[in-house]
Every structure is written in structure tokens, then in C-alpha cells.
Amino acid sequence: MIVLVSLIVIFIIYNRLIYSSESYYPSIALSPKAIKGQNLWQSNNCWSCHQIYGLGGYLGPDLTNIYSHPNKGPDYINTFLNSGIKSMPYFNFTEVEKEAIIEYLKVIDQSGFYPNYEADIEATGWVKIKYKDE
């Protein structure tokens, strides 16, 4: 019983820390336009094929840093969205909607790196990741 109570107390403190924005850097905020992009991302189930930070489905590529990718970027994304390439469904986004999705991908891009190619892998099994503002 004591074990259970102490676990729960630690859990409550822990949750407070996790829910506080200080636990993440850099602190990236979504603009209303990016939120609109996120809505489209959710209602069209982009996550079922694509990943962000390696999380999502594996039928398509990861899109975390596509926005700042030297050979890709906003125009490239724009042409892909309604292309219906391979298994990707035929979407019929308007220009405004496409811009919102691109804005969302821009915010994601600014939050960090994935894959984190410059991470340090240590002998202890620990991985020191590289953050965006470093």
C-alpha cells in the first residue's frame, strides 16, 4: 500500500513536469494556419503512411525535415500533395489548404531533427541527440 501511494505521488509530480512546456526545447508554437494544416493532416490520415520523428506508418517516407531539405522544400511539397503518387490517395486540396499543410510541416521542421544524424552514440547505450538551437 505504501509502495502504491508513493508511486502515485511520484507520478503526479512527474506528470506536472511533463505537461509543463519547459521540458521541451526549442518551444515551438503552432500558428492558427499551422493548426489548420494539422487538422488536414489528421482528417486525411497522413499519419497512417507518413512519420514525424519516425512515428506513424511506414508506407511513405518520414516528413520531419522535408521543409528544409536542400532538394525538397515548400514548392516540392506543394506539387506532391495532389499528385496521387504511388499508394498516396488522390487529394483535392485547394491552394489555401496546401499552404496550411506546408505551414504545419514548417513548424515541425523547426522543432528538431529526424533522423538525428549528428547524434552521439555513447558506450553506455545512451544517445545524445542534437537539438535545433545548438
Binding site: 509502495v3 502504491l4 508511486l7 511520484i10 507520478f11 512527474y14 511533463i18 505537461y19 512546456s21 521540458s23 521541451y24 526545447y25 526549442p26 518551444s27 515551438i28 508554437a29 503552432l30 493548426i35 494539422q38 487538422n39 489528421q42 482528417s43 486525411n44 490520415n45 497522413c46 499519419w47 497512417s48 503512411c49 512519420q51 514525424i52 520523428y53 519516425g54 512515428l55 506508418g57 511506414y58 508506407l59 511513405g60 517516407p61 518520414d62 504511388k86 499508394s87 490517395p89 488522390y90 513548424v107 522543432s111 528538431g112 531533427f113 529526424y114 533522423p115 538525428n116 544524424y117 547524434a119 552514440i121 555513447e122 547505450g125 545512451w126 544517445v127 545524445k128 541527440i129 535545433k132
Partner: protein, 439 residues
């Protein structure tokens, strides 16, 4: 005294399973033929359906089993039980129709439109009331499985709500936090259902072996607390590569490694020969539990390795993660839940305790094809990881094309699993329907 609603839950669960595997198989076809029926049934629609039915199978069969076991005691309220069942049937229908009209504006795993979480949560509350009211009198003397069920329900309610925190501005507007909390909730959400399912397995084992001690010794309580610690703090091994502060990931790394103790204990028990205990009663239930034992052993090794950040760095974002999640949901959870359902049927009618040729065959097919399925996923994962880290950014489609044979193997083994599941499910489903009618 037992009401027939627990049986109804189990029937619904088995039907979900039968539907879920069909969606899974048809989705996997699109790995081989990316453009196949993508116009009317794209992967992005099939996958959420597969996941929803899969989760429904686990949840409904766990809930039905626990209700059945509680019904053997002074059960609190049959009326609430009935309301819970009706509520879930209606929610299931609403969910299905909202998917049909293309309304899936939730997130991965919980793709349904967010309002539907309200009746789902309400169902859990009803379940919780019934469980605690039924068992409260004996709380000072609970065996571990009551603790596990109680904990599972409370944390399920919490983490299911947490998975919808994104509806609040404060979470949603902050990208990294939102993503971390989303994956935190998923990790703990599966931890919660594991509490229900593992609790069921201990219950079934102790009832079959008629050893009440099994649910009461120090060791099982130790594992209960270890599991709870993992449920609370272990989730961040899903997000080692998300830019959270290092301490969150340190905690997850440390906590996840505590599971080595579980592995050590399994090996120790094995050498003691506990699993040799051949039991005459409940042959089928015992057989399923032993199968689960094997998959627990192989999965825990995989899980432990991919929780080491240095290894996770390479396996994350590949099918190796899927091998882990499918290994646990299909290999472990499904086997335990089948064991429980066969135990329930055998408890009502002893005739159903005996192993039949078909079930024996289905189980063999299941093990063989699941092994092939997991190996295909591991191979696909290694290839994808190689592409991510060492291929100098060759095009995605090139990597996918190179996976052709692996995806074919994945599909064929998936088909095998589907057939095996049908072989095992149909007879017990028929039995349950007969039992429900004769009540």
C-alpha cells in the same frame, strides 16, 4: 449466478477480431501493389479500421472475461453491466458509420472523431464502478489480479483522456509537448490494457491449478509494482529521438531496463520446471497460456534491446517496432485472451475444455505463420534502417521496391495468421452463441 452479458461481450470481441484481421490483410496488400484499390479503399482508411477492430478485440474480450469472473462473486449491478454493453454496441455502430462517411479526424490509433471518446470513457467508468463495488469488501485481502484489474481501469480512464489533451489549446499549440504527451498516453494506454490482460492470465492459471497462493505471493506483487512503474514512466522509450529534455529519456531508459528482471525470472521459473505441470482440466486454456509464455519470452528480448537508446536509434521508425507491437498484441495478448475465453466456455460446460484436432492444428499454424510474419517484419525493418542511415538518401521508392519479396512474405504469413485465427475462433464463437442462447 452469471448474467449473459459477459458472454455477449466475448461474442462481440470475437467478431471484431474476425473483421480486424481481414482489414489488416487487405491493408498489407498495398505494400505489394501500392495502387491496388486505392481509390475506394486506400491504406489510410484500411489501417485505422484494422487498428480499431484489433483494439476492440483486446478490450472487449478482456472486459467480458473480467465481468464473467466478477459475476461469480456477489456482483454489484447487472443493470450497469447491461447499460455498459448497450453503450458500447451503440458507440461501435457510431464509430463504424463515422468511418464509413470518411470522418476520421482523430489521431493515430484513436482515429475516430474525438466526441466518441465520451461514451467510451463512460463505459470504463461503469466498468470501474461495478468492479470496485463488487470487490471493495475484501480490499485488504486482494489477490494481485484484482489489483491489476483495478489499476488497469483507473489508468485506462486517465490515459484515454490524456490521449485527447490535444483538444486543449495549451497542449495543441506547443508542438513537441503535444507530440510527447500523445505518445506518453499511447505507451501507458497499452500498459493499462496489459494490466487487465496479465491479470486475467494469473487469474486463469490460479483457478486451473487451484492454487490460490499463485495470486498472492510476494513475487507476483513485486512484478505488479514493476509493471506499474513501467506503465507510468517507461513510455518515453517510444520517443528517444523527440527533442524532449534528457531527464525524461533517462528515466525511461532506466525504467525500461528493469524489465530484465522479468526475463531473468522467466528463465529461472523455466529451469525450475514449473511449466511442466501438465494439467488434465482445461486443456485448451492451458495450451494457449503456454503458447503465450513462448511469445512473452521472445518478445521481451526484442523489447529490451530496442529500449536501449543506442539500438533504438537504428530500429526506431522501422518495421522492427511493428514486429514488437504485433508480437505482443497477436502473440501474447491474443493467446492469453483466447485462453480466458476457452476457460470461460469450459467453466460453463466441461465438454468445451477438451482439445480438438482443429484447434490444435490452428494453433500450430498460428505459431508457424506468426514466426514467419515477425521475421519478415524484422528483415523489412533492417532494410529500412539501412536505407535511412547508410544509403546516402537514395529515393524512398527505390527502397520500397527492393522490399518486394519481404512484403510478399509478410502478406503470405499474414494470410496464414488469418486462417489460423479463423480456425481457432469459429468453433468457440459458435459455442458461445449456443451458451448465450441456453442461458
Amino acid at each position: 449466478m452469471n448474467s449473459k452479458y459477459p458472454i455477449y461481450f466475448l461474442i462481440l470481441a470475437l467478431i471484431s477480431l474476425l473483421i480486424g484481421v481481414v482489414f489488416g490483410l487487405s491493408a498489407s496488400l498495398q505494400y505489394i501493389y501500392p495502387e491496388l484499390f486505392k481509390e475506394f479503399a486506400p491504406f489510410s482508411k484500411l489501417r485505422p479500421l484494422h487498428v480499431t477492430y484489433g483494439i476492440s478485440w483486446v478490450i472487449l474480450s478482456a472486459v467480458g472475461s473480467i465481468y464473467f469472473y466478477l459475476n461469480k462473486l456477489q456482483f454489484y449491478s447487472y443493470r450497469l453491466l447491461k447499460i455498459h454493453f448497450i453503450l458500447y454496441v451503440l458507440t461501435g455502430l457510431a464509430l463504424y458509420f463515422s468511418y464509413l462517411i470518411g470522418n476520421m479526424d482523430g489521431r493515430e490509433y484513436l482515429a475516430f472523431t474525438p466526441v466518441l471518446v465520451i461514451p467510451i470513457l463512460l463505459g470504463w467508468v461503469l466498468f470501474g464502478i461495478n468492479l470496485f463495488k463488487t470487490l471493495w469488501g475484501s480490499v485488504t485481502n486482494w489477490p494481485v489480479y484484482y489489483w491489476m484489474w483495478g489499476t488497469g481501469i483507473v489508468f485506462m480512464i486517465y490515459h484515454l483522456s490524456e490521449a485527447h489533451f490535444w483538444l486543449f489549446e495549451d497542449f495543441r499549440s506547443h508542438f513537441t509537448k503535444d507530440m510527447a504527451v500523445q505518445w506518453k498516453s499511447y505507451g501507458s494506454f497499452t500498459g493499462s490494457w496489459n494490466m487487465l490482460v496479465y491479470g486475467i492470465s494469473i487469474y486463469v492459471m490460479s483457478k486451473i491449478s487451484k492454487e490460490d497462493k499463485m495470486g498472492r505471493n510476494k513475487k507476483v506483487f513485486f512484478f505488479y509494482f514493476l509493471g506499474l512503474t513501467n506503465l507510468m514512466f517507461g513510455w518515453a522509450h517510444h520517443t528517444y529521438l523527440l527533442p524532449t529534455q534528457p531527464w525524461i529519456r533517462y528515466v525511461a531508459y532506466g525504467v525500461s531496463m528493469s524489465e530484465w528482471i522479468v526475463l531473468a525470472s522467466i528463465i529461472y521459473d523455466w529451469t525450475l520446471g514449473l511449466s511442466k505441470n501438465s494439467l488434465a482440466q482445461h486443456q485448451v486454456a492451458v495450451k494457449f497460456l503456454k503458447t503465450a509464455d513462448f511469445w512473452i519470452f521472445s518478445n521481451i528480448i526484442l523489447a529490451l534491446f530496442i529500449s536501449i537508446p543506442a539500438i533504438n536509434y537504428y530500429t526506431h521508425g522501422t518495421h522492427i517496432t511493428v514486429a514488437h507491437s504485433m508480437g505482443t498484441t497477436i502473440g501474447i495478448n491474443t493467446m492469453i485472451l483466447f485462453s480466458s475465453i476457452y476457460f470461460v466456455a469450459g467453466d460453463i460446460n466441461r465438454k468445451f475444455q477438451r482439445m480438438t484436432f482443429m484447434v490444435e492444428f490452428g494453433l500450430k499454424l498460428f505459431n508457424g505463420t506468426l514466426l514467419l510474419f515477425l521475421i519478415s517484419l524484422l528483415v523489412a525493418g533492417v532494410k529500412r534502417s539501412y536505407w535511412i542511415h547508410f544509403s546516402d538518401q537514395s529515393p524512398f521508392s527505390e527502397m520500397q521496391d527492393a522490399q518486394y519479396l519481404v512484403y510478399v512474405a509478410l502478406f503470405i504469413s499474414g494470410l496464414g495468421i488469418l486462417i489460423a485465427i479463423y480456425i481457432v475462433t469459429i468453433p468457440i464463437l459458435k459455442k458461445l452463441i449456443i451458451l448465450a442462447r441456453s442461458y
